[in-house]
Symmetry: C2
Subunit: 104 residues, 2 copies
């Protein structure tokens, strides 16, 4: 449970609804979003660096500049993406995630 | 913005991810969920009565016992469903909604 957070009601909707998320700010002022990715292939860009916690599901991730070195992540694992970068994902199982936007 | 709410991180996932939602409890102790419905046809049952606020999107709703009297709802509108009832929806445009579980 994330306690005493400020939750933005309006959803973020990407890729025709196959990826959606909700932004919130926790009690320490950290901005996060809880999201769902349906099976499929997507590419995301980052402004701030991001910490991606996989709550449940399964996906492969290709970090920018890593040529074809796809890495698999499942529920309970996490990864980070630098600021002003990008990453591609191949979602194999519906993935529930929490993204934390990092201040650097 | 919904301020100082307690947000459950794990998503509710229905109909193979075509309907997903997040539960939270607001500062007055009212339980709500923010959800997304992708285009399609779904049937929902209610335990507690529900107030459904349509944040954006477009859907038709058939309330239990209303035979074929489908009603259209869009962003900015809302409807209520009694406790221990059901309703069917035909989602025409990705629908972002807020469901409030009513105490009766």
């Amino acid at each position: 449970m994330e306690e005493k957070v400020d939750l933005l009601k309006k959803a973020n909707i990407y890729f025709d609804g196959r990826v959606t998320s909700r932004n919130y700010t926790n009690s320490e002022g950290v901005v996060k979003s809880l999201g769902i990715m349906l099976p499929g292939e997507y590419k995301f860009g980052t402004k701030a660096a991001e910490h991606m916690e996989i709550i449940s599901g399964k996906l492969e991730v290709l970090f920018a500049g890593m040529e074809s070195n796809w890495e698999t992540f499942q529920g309970g694992s996490s990864f980070e993406v630098p600021a002003n970068s990008s990453f591609e994902v191949k979602v194999e199982e519906i993935t529930d995630y929490c993204c934390t936007y990092l201040n650097e």
